[in-house]
Structures are given as structure tokens and as C-alpha cells.
Amino acid sequence: MNDAGQLADGIRTVLREHARLAIDPDGLDDQADLYQAGLTSHASVNLMLALEDRFEIEFPERMLRRGAFSSIAAIRSAIEELTGVDA
């Protein structure tokens, strides 16, 4: 499995534990809208915190936007930017 695939799996694990979605993240496409999948604004804060913890990053102010956490793909590109991983 490549880095991007592992990253997406890690994100799915965090989603399963903290995002309180209406459906299992394994059944979610990378581009699927997480807000439509049941992500509430309250849960999105928990999701941000859990992602910061798991990937040892800090989302800067400019990334604290609804759009940055709207899909697995969006979260992956934010993490890649912060960790310098080239997908």
C-alpha cells in the first residue's frame, strides 16, 4: 500500500473513533462529503483535535475552515501539506 493509501486509512480510523458519522467510514469514498455523512460542527472540532494528535500536527488558523475537513481527500491534502509528504 502506498503512503496516500495508508494516510487515508489512518484518517478513516480517526473518523470512525471521533467523527460520529451516520455511516461507517470504510464505506465512504475519498471525495464523499463528510457533512452529508453526518459530521456535525461540534464533532468536526473533535475530529480536528484527534487528527492533530494522531498525525502529530497542528492545523494553522488558515486551515480551520469548513472546507478543509469536508472530505477524506481534503483532510489528506491538508495533512500532506503540513507533514511535507509528497503524495
Binding site: 457533512y35 452529508q36 455523512a37 460542527s41 480536528m48 488558523e61 480551520l64 475552515r65 469548513r66
Partner: protein, 386 residues
């Protein structure tokens, strides 16, 4: 038709406020009834469509200009100011999020032509007060849908010409996957479930209802409610409510000033003791006004920047305006009562502050400050700076 400038609108609001709204305010409060005289006058001068863009036949006024109207109406009757604010919040959502749809373009024309009054049903029994989740759902059948909502509050629901209602996108959608639908009076039936005999804001007629509706799927606003809420409904609500509270506070302070002037005239050459209290409360009023005006300026600056509007920092700052203004209005009216003394405590005096005080205490309870601060506390866990 000649265009009405913002200044003209403010002057006209002042005239309607002083001549019509003020005259009915005590009766509206006593009987907890809809301020019908005020809205007849506002309709006659086309105030309900004041923010609808001119291309749809409206007045094309800015949010700041509408906020000034809310403040002016709030001075004379807080319930009138609140109903006007709530109507304009719905208008703001439609003009910013539904204009691409032919149905809504036609509706905006009709709103402007007939001066329709828009109500709102966002709260629901069983959601624990979190308006960003719904239990009820849009149940589609072909190009029609059905919707039944247990609404603990639909302010002025019986007087509304149309109501915007939040619901889940479909029967199998998650509770946070919401849409907002526009229902015309012919589309729904309201069955009253609770009354509104409240401490203040009595004229808002915030009754509870079971709403049962059937309508066309064209009436579903195309953009997701989550976006409408963060980009428009929340900031507009906080800013327009804060503006009408500023009106309540301004009038309370004006009564305090009138009282101090009368005292000073009785004993020329001395500064009455109440004048020092007045100086104190005027400083608080100026701070409140700065908070509200600063918030309006910020929102108008970033109104078309979707990225900024969906940021945590923006949500925090707008929430803080609500919290600060709602605290300020109760504190200022209480302090104004300290200025007038017993003259303001009496109900039959021209300095009376009883209605102001009761109305002001609704501010921290409507969209409860505790809930807003809890949301802010959660956002601050990830927010890095301001």
C-alpha cells in the same frame, strides 16, 4: 419608482416608529399580540422588501441599513424590532442562497410585490436545541414532498405569509444533512401546541406548532443548510438581533437622560447625583454600539468570501457579538433604572423602564448564551489565535 436612499429609509423608520409603533407598544405588550399596526405601516412603505435586490423589485438596501431600521424599531417596541429582524434574516438567506433557482427568483419578485412576511421554523422537539440537526425529513414522492415538524416555536407563525423550515434532506439522511424549504401559507397546516405568555418580547407571539406540509421539490433551497447557516443565517441573526437590542438600550438611556435633564432644570447650577450614573451608562452604551457596528462592518467586508465565512475565527467573533450585546442590553437597562430611580420603576410614568427591562432579559436566553459559549469553548480547543 424612485430609489430610497439609506438615509431616507432611516428617516422613514424613525417616523413610523414614533407615530405608529410607539403608540401600540404598550398594548402589544399587555395583550401579547402581533404588532399589526406596525406591520401595516411598514408594508405600506415597502419595508418588508427593503433588502430584496432591485432586480427583483425590492429596495436593494444593505444589511447595515436594515440593522439601523431594526435598532430604530427596537427603540419603540422590541417585539416589532424582533419580528422585523427575523423576517430580514430569512430574506438574507433567500437572496444569498437561492437566486439561481427559477422558483425562488419568482418568489422574490412576489415577496417584493406583495410585501410578504417570512417566518422561520428551525427548532424542533427532540433535537436538544441544536438547530444544526433535524429529526423531521423531506419525504419525496416524484416532484412533490411531504414534511411534518414538531416545532416548539414558530414566532408570528400565524401571521407569516410563508415559513422557512429546516429538515433532513431525505428520510435516510443523517441528522446533520439538512436542507431549508420555503413553504407558502397554502402549503402547510399549523396546529398550535403551546402558547406564549412570557416575561418579555410578548408581541413576537412565539407559539409552538405541529407543522404539516406538502409542496413542490422546487421549494427546497438548492444550497445545503450547513452553508446557509454559517455564511448567512447565524451572522445575520446575531447582528440584527444585536441591533434591535441596541435600540432597547438606547431608548432606556434616552429615558435616563430625560430624567436627569428634568432634575437639572429644577435646580439650575448643580449637577444632579443621577448625572454621574448616567455618564457611566452612556459609556456602556457607546461600547455596545461599537461592538455591534464593528461586527456589521466585518461581516459586510467578508460577506462574499466563502472561505473566511466558514472559518472558526469568524464564527467565534460573530458568536461573541451575540453574547456581548445580549449581556450589555440587560446591564444597560438595569443601570438606566438606577438613573431614573422610582420614576422608571413606575409603570405609569414617562420614564417607565419595565417593558425595556423585561424585553432585555430575553436576549441572553434566545439562542442561549450558555449554548453559544459551549460552542466557542469547543472551537477554542483548536483555534490558534485571533
Amino acid at each position: 419608482m424612485t430609489a430610497v436612499t439609506g438615509r431616507d429609509l432611516a428617516t422613514l423608520a424613525q417616523k413610523i416608529g414614533a407615530e405608529v409603533v410607539a403608540a401600540a407598544a404598550d398594548r402589544v405588550d399587555r395583550d401579547a399580540r402581533f404588532p399589526a399596526e406596525a406591520f401595516a405601516a411598514l408594508r405600506a412603505e415597502r419595508f418588508l422588501a427593503a433588502m430584496v435586490p432591485e432586480e427583483f423589485g425590492g429596495g436593494g438596501h444593505s444589511l447595515s441599513e436594515i440593522a439601523t431600521v431594526c435598532q430604530t424599531l427596537g427603540r419603540y417596541c422590541a417585539s416589532t424590532g424582533m419580528i422585523y429582524a427575523m423576517h430580514q434574516i430569512q430574506v438574507a438567506c433567500l437572496i444569498r442562497h437561492s437566486r439561481t433557482s427559477p422558483f425562488f427568483q419568482r418568489f422574490l419578485h412576489r415577496l417584493a410585490e406583495q410585501e410578504l412576511l417570512l417566518g422561520s421554523a428551525t427548532t424542533e422537539l427532540g433535537i436538544g436545541g441544536d438547530v444544526r440537526t433535524s429529526l423531521c425529513a423531506v419525504e419525496r414522492q416524484g416532484d412533490r414532498f411531504r414534511l411534518t415538524k414538531q416545532a416548539p416555536v414558530i414566532s408570528y407563525g400565524l401571521e407569516s405569509d410563508a415559513i422557512l423550515v429546516t429538515a433532513r434532506r431525505a428520510s435516510d439522511a443523517a441528522s446533520s444533512d439538512q436542507v431549508i424549504v420555503l413553504l407558502n401559507k397554502d402549503d402547510y397546516r399549523l396546529t398550535q401546541t403551546s402558547g406564549w405568555d412570557a416575561l418579555g418580547m410578548r408581541g413576537t407571539c412565539s407559539l409552538g406548532f405541529t407543522l404539516e406540509a406538502e409542496a413542490s421539490v422546487d421549494q427546497i433551497v438548492p444550497q445545503p443548510y450547513g452553508e446557509i447557516s454559517s455564511h448567512t443565517m447565524l451572522p445575520t441573526s446575531h447582528l440584527l438581533w444585536a441591533s434591535l437590542w441596541l435600540g432597547i438600550a438606547s431608548d432606556a438611556v434616552a429615558r435616563g437622560r430625560a430624567f436627569v435633564r428634568a432634575e437639572a432644570r429644577r435646580k439650575p447650577g448643580t449637577v444632579p447625583p443621577s448625572a454621574t450614573r448616567l455618564a457611566d451608562v452612556v459609556a456602556d452604551l457607546h461600547a455596545m454600539r461599537a461592538t455591534v457596528h464593528n461586527g456589521l462592518a466585518e461581516y459586510e467586508r467578508v460577506m462574499h468570501d466563502g472561505d473566511e465565512l466558514s472559518s472558526l475565527g469568524f464564527a467565534l467573533r460573530m458568536n461573541n457579538i451575540k453574547v456581548l450585546a445580549s449581556r450589555a442590553v440587560a446591564d444597560i437597562v438595569t443601570a438606566a433604572l438606577g438613573v431614573t430611580g422610582i420614576a422608571g420603576y413606575k409603570a405609569d410614568s414617562k420614564f417607565s423602564l419595565g417593558r425595556h427591562l423585561r424585553d432585555a432579559h430575553g436576549a441572553s436566553l434566545m439562542i442561549a448564551n450558555d449554548r453559544i459559549l459551549a460552542a466557542n469553548a469547543a472551537m477554542l480547543l483548536v483555534q490558534k489565535d485571533d
